[in-house]
Amino acid sequence: MVEELRLPLIGGRVEAGFPSPADDFIERSLDLNEQLIANPIATFFMRASGHSMAGAGINDGDLLIVDRSITPSHGNIVIAVIDGGLTVKRLTKLGTRASLTPEPNKLDQGKYSPIDIGEETNVTIWGVVAWSIHNLKCTR
């Protein structure tokens, strides 16, 4: 999964005759994995489907980077298992009450409702969404 793709930060253009003055300043290449994946062993990719999290910046078709080694805390966006299905929600904890809240666009407010996590609900947290990657070139 974490095949390294090295992209040079500064690329000196090949000019006949003179070496680029920047060539001496190339320090290292940037690997996007370093930035996006803190713990590769516990990181999984998922595809978001639907619009209930658009307000939080997660759109239909976005690529989610999910880290299972992060302990979920108040305010995290999480993958939750609700009745056996994988869903994306924001986790909110108020005192002893925890709930999973959808975060749609303003226009869709009221279309979705929060779910309380309690003894009687069949809910577990699968992992914490660390990043959402949105393709700006084309959407599905």
């Binding site: 990719f45 978001a48 869903t87």
Partner: protein, 420 residues
């Protein structure tokens, strides 16, 4: 001190990580080509499914109990196994990966820290990070670690981690001989005949008499039960001696054309594996046969072994040898169900040239194989292949119930709903 970490119902657990709705339901995973049961969830074990059951004989139970049936998804299991093993290595550098779902761990590096506590932390990390539940057994020897692991699996109150206690008699007493690591079915029968029923019985037997009536391995096993180390961590994998590539056909094969393509693709995959491990083969065994279960069709089976001179790992040489050996055995009028190629007597030594072999030919072949492997690894397996393996794809596996390759293919990622 050794520990054995063993994933619980590994294949079934992998399926459940990405499909939590399968939790608590009976699930079986089938062999390549959807033939036999190779793995079971606890619920399907409880229903009486056994490893090796042909799935068509279980249709009624499957229907009656809504058993989930899955084709094997080795891309997924392999990736999850890698994650589990990498997590284990964070806790101790001395790890022997014993199988896809089991590893022995040497705990001597923990220097006085509470082994059981550390193993509980490891178990919790594996469960949280990968979603795979494991059981851990801890003991002075590998045999005792394996025994403690068995105990941990059987007793929920251990929380999945058990150590051999200071006085191990009670734990040894409740372990049947069949469940001791390294004691097979034959030996268990023989042991029971002489009144040895539990691990404690075996541990208290006289050392020399075990050696006389069984062999040195049985004696070492008994000594390991007493806490004396005989089996050490094997970190460098032993060099393989043989390499088998075989598979049942999705639908029966009735023409030489189809059979030869199947054999050629087995030969191709076996040669690739050889090159991958820098080995050459001295002998080749080729076989094909009709169904073992179908009692109405006429039966036939054929096999032959040939020498490869000089020893080789060159794809086209191995294809040619396999087809030359199989062609004279071909008989029409049968519905063949399975075929395979086995490479035997493998070595990594330098290839001895025979009298009639030109070094130019060898170096040409070698360059061709480097090119072939390079293209196939960068552009996908099978991009470049020999025409003998054909274009009809008889060998495409019948895998009707395969789950997506959730962790190894961009097009098959798990989908999470933003819709509730």
């Amino acid at each position: 001190m050794y520990a054995l970490a063993d994933c619980n119902n590994f294949y079934a657990s992998c399926e459940r990580v990405f499909e939590p709705h399968l939790e608590g339901k009976p699930l079986v995973v089938l062999s390549n080509n959807d033939g036999c049961v190779i793995a079971r969830s606890q619920e399907s074990k409880d229903l009486g499914f056994k490893v090796g059951d042909p799935i068509f004989t279980c249709k009624d139970v499957v229907r009656k109990h809504n058993v989930i049936v899955r084709s094997s998804n080795f891309a997924l299991y392999g990736d999850m196994s890698r994650r589990v093993m990498q997590t284990i290595r964070l806790f101790s550098p001395d790890v022997e990966v014993y199988s896809i779902d089991e590893a022995f761990i040497k705990l001597d590096g923990l220097a006085g820290r509470n082994c059981e506590k550390v193993m509980r932390q490891m178990r919790a990390a594996i469960l949280q990070w990968t979603g795979i539940p494991v059981s851990v057994g801890i003991g002075h020897t590998k045999t005792l670690a394996k025994l403690a692991n068995h105990y941990a699996k059987k007793h929920i109150e251990t929380g999945g981690v058990a150590s051999i206690p200071k006085n191990p008699d009670a734990m040894l007493q409740c372990t049947q001989v069949e469940d001791i690591w390294g004691i097979g079915r034959q030996w268990s029968k023989k042991l029971r005949n002489i009144g040895v029923n539990t691990a404690l019985d075996l541990a208290s037997m006289d050392k020399e008499s075990i050696r006389r009536s069984f062999n040195i391995i049985a004696m070492k096993t008994a000594m390991e039960l007493r806490g004396h180390t005989y089996f050490r961590l094997e970190q460098a994998p032993e060099q393989r001696k043989t390499l088998l590539r075989s598979r049942s056909f999705g639908k029966p094969v009735e023409s030489w054309h189809e059979l030869s393509e199947a054999l050629a693709s087995h030969a191709t995959r076996a040669s690739e594996k050889l090159r991958n491990e820098n080995l050459v083969a001295k002998m080749l065994h080729v076989f094909f046969h009709t169904s073992l279960f179908n009692r109405t069709d006429p039966r036939n089976s054929a096999h032959a072994t040939v020498e490869l001179i000089p020893p080789t790992n060159v794809t086209h040489t191995i294809i040619k040898a396999a087809l030359n050996a199989a062609k004279p055995m071909w008989k029409g009028g049968f519905r063949y169900k399975r075929a395979g190629v086995q490479l035997i007597d493998l070595s990594s030594g330098p290839v001895q040239c025979s009298l009639f072999d030109s070094p130019e030919e060898q170096s040409k072949n070698k360059r061709m194989m480097v090119l072939l492997d390079g293209v196939n690894s960068s552009m996908g397996a099978g991009t470049l292949h020999f025409a003998a393996t054909g274009f009809t794809k008889v060998m495409q596996m019948k895998q009707l119930q395969k789950s997506p390759r959730y962790t190894t293919d961009w097009n098959e990622l798990p989908e999470c709903l933003c819709g509730l």
